[in-house]
Amino acid sequence: MKILVLNCGSSSLKYQLINIETEEVLASGKYERIGEDEAFITHKVNDKKIEIKHPAKTHEEAIDFTLKQLVNPEYKVIDNLDEIEAIGHRLVHGGEKITQSVIIDDKVVEVLKEYTDLAPLHNPAGIIGIEACKKVMPGKPMVGVFDTAFHQTITKEKYLYAIPYKYYKNYGVRKYGFHGTSHMYVSKRASEIENKPIEELKIITCHLGQGSSICAIQGGKSVDTSMGLTPLGGIPMVTRSGDLDPSVVTYLMKKENLTVNQVEDILNKQSGVQGISGLAPDFRIIEAQSYETNERAKIAMESFKYAVASYIAKYAVAMNGVDIIVFTGGVGENQINIRKGICEKLQFMGVEIDEDKNNMRGQEKLVSKDTSNVKIYVIPTNEELMIAKETERLINN
């Protein structure tokens, strides 16, 4: 079965055409600057990268042109669009209404609208992608895989904030959690590699990338996660602050006469390891500088590692133990010393990383010592494959 996975942004769209049986990516790419004359697509097929400037005023036009690449006689991967059996949409905020992957219908679009307040960029983009597909590929089955769905198994004492209850009742203010598809994928992969039923495992997954979140997974279900109402919560990220004493917000607003939008911008775009170090918003640059004499870069990296280790310990307590820690995401898969630094802080828990095994990037690998109480894995994430699998699962039923 061939499944097209789409991830729509407000002015972009990413896609992969996946052969589900072989898990092979037949073609992939990104269409950028949709809505401008400068719009262009970067299409990857057969190890080739083809960049085409093609104005696309709407996502509909962009998807239409994208599909043309898939059947382009020069580098086609399918003969006609009927070979695409279904479309899997990456969607973000499903609130409390979406608890698993869903066949897309009007109700799902209503949910996306309902939670637009909490995901003002991502949910509308998701709707645009769905509507565009309906026009370009009418009748093609579509499945929605939500970032938040995996975490809907978290129980009330873990998702409520200690603020007046009415804010939960009236506005749905609570922890939702994100990166659900990634946490689900790497935890399933870990159980497959270990050849143990996921029902018997306590796994802590660390998706560390531009956005970062930690997830406690017991019996295959999310038990707690670090992001909250929005992806701003949890550990410090590249430009996001993560958790804060809430009085920091009100204090700064008074001190600098800031508006709500200004504070949101500071916390989302100017904070995190970039905010502490003052360097470029790139973990690799900040890590490299931390080995030189840059004190602030050192502190930024220490702060990040400490936060990740703290969440791992917190979730080990919550699950009364941990069998496997997984590192994934750009930083988790590629930054060797950060993995090492985090694990070293967990030695008291019997976590022992093997420096030689850990000395690699981007591979699925066990990197703990044989004597470690906890297994440590690096597992590159693959949200698109997870979305394709979920799409296949729902279509087959």
Partner: protein
């Protein structure tokens, strides 16, 4: 915003019962769902911070409970300690059945010692004052 977060939140905000822990605890004992929920949240967050402190120090030797709830809330102490089985924390239920006494309350085979130590900020201030005054010369 500051007023809501400082004066209307916490276990009071969740439960809507009272700003006094004792009232909330009594409601929880009587089976009140909101009270149970509020205390579950409170205990979970405290356990999380104990876990974080263990990371910061690379281990824990002693957990000390102090201040109003710490000194006089055996139910809360028990709930928190019971959630720390992963660190080998074991409470002695009989020793824990006390309010306001300086006392070790962990079981003999607990990997971490647990104490109640009633706080005394005034005495600490006095001691600090003496130390600084005597060292001044």
């Amino acid at each position: 915003m500051e007023n809501i977060l400082n004066k209307e939140s916490g276990v009071y905000g969740i439960s809507g019962i009272s700003v006094d822990f004792r009232d909330i605890e009594n409601e929880a004992i009587a089976g009140g769902e909101e009270a149970i929920l509020a205390l579950d949240i409170y205990h979970y967050i405290i356990s999380s911070y104990i876990a974080k402190c263990a990371v910061a120090m690379n281990g824990i030797d002693v957990i000390t409970f102090t201040a109003g709830v710490g000194e006089k809330g055996p139910i809360s102490r028990k709930a928190i300690c019971d959630s720390l089985k992963f660190f080998g924390v074991k409470l002695d239920d009989e020793l824990n059945d006390v309010k306001g006494e300086e006392r070790e309350i962990s079981a003999k085979d607990s990997k971490v010692k647990v104490w109640i130590v009633p706080t005394n900020e005034e005495l600490m201030i006095a001691k600090e004052t003496k130390e600084i005054i005597t060292n001044k010369d």
